[in-house]
Symmetry: C2
């Protein structure tokens, strides 16, 4: 498995707009076992995204999906930056699909 954790900071006041874009684009991604979008409690312009994929290849392939490319294109002007980016190897847990 392949995991990603990262913080995305939006242009001031644009968090809700980016959340709506992300939530609409992440429903059907082959190989995606978990994709959780969360608001930072201390920074009103920041969110955290945590992802689990069956492989790094599936994650890379997702970036070419039409829905994802469209979401990236819409969100890009509203994003001020990325930070705290970590790649991991998930080993298990609860609510990951078995299989």
């Amino acid at each position: 498995m392949h995991g990603l954790i990262g913080k995305m900071t939006m242009v001031a006041g644009k968090r809700d707009e980016v959340l709506a874009i992300l939530l609409g684009s992440t429903t059907k991604m082959p190989g995606c076992l978990s994709y959780i979008i969360a608001k930072d409690l201390k920074d009103e312009n920041a969110i955290w995204i945590t992802e689990v994929w069956d492989s790094a290849e599936s994650h890379k392939a997702s970036l070419s999906l039409p829905e994802v490319k469209e979401a990236i294109s819409k969100a890009r002007p509203l994003i001020a930056g990325f930070s705290d980016y970590v790649t991991t190897t998930p080993v298990g847990g609860h609510a990951l699909p078995k299989g």
Copy 2:
């Protein structure tokens, strides 16, 4: 919803032992919507834990579950420290149970 992201660093060489303890104790926690345990790719003694709960109260209550208390007791001597701790408000995503 209530979310947690954090890094746990183990005493040198003890990561696999702690992973086994955690994986055995996190299966039945009321209110836990997602609990993912992942190895850090760059630090062989570190892991990342990302959690989603229906509420902060459910997370707090989980710390009193017998299985969790036993796991904490077993793991504590093997843990060197915690860092990168973030609390979030998850707003959605993929593979979170609907309910």
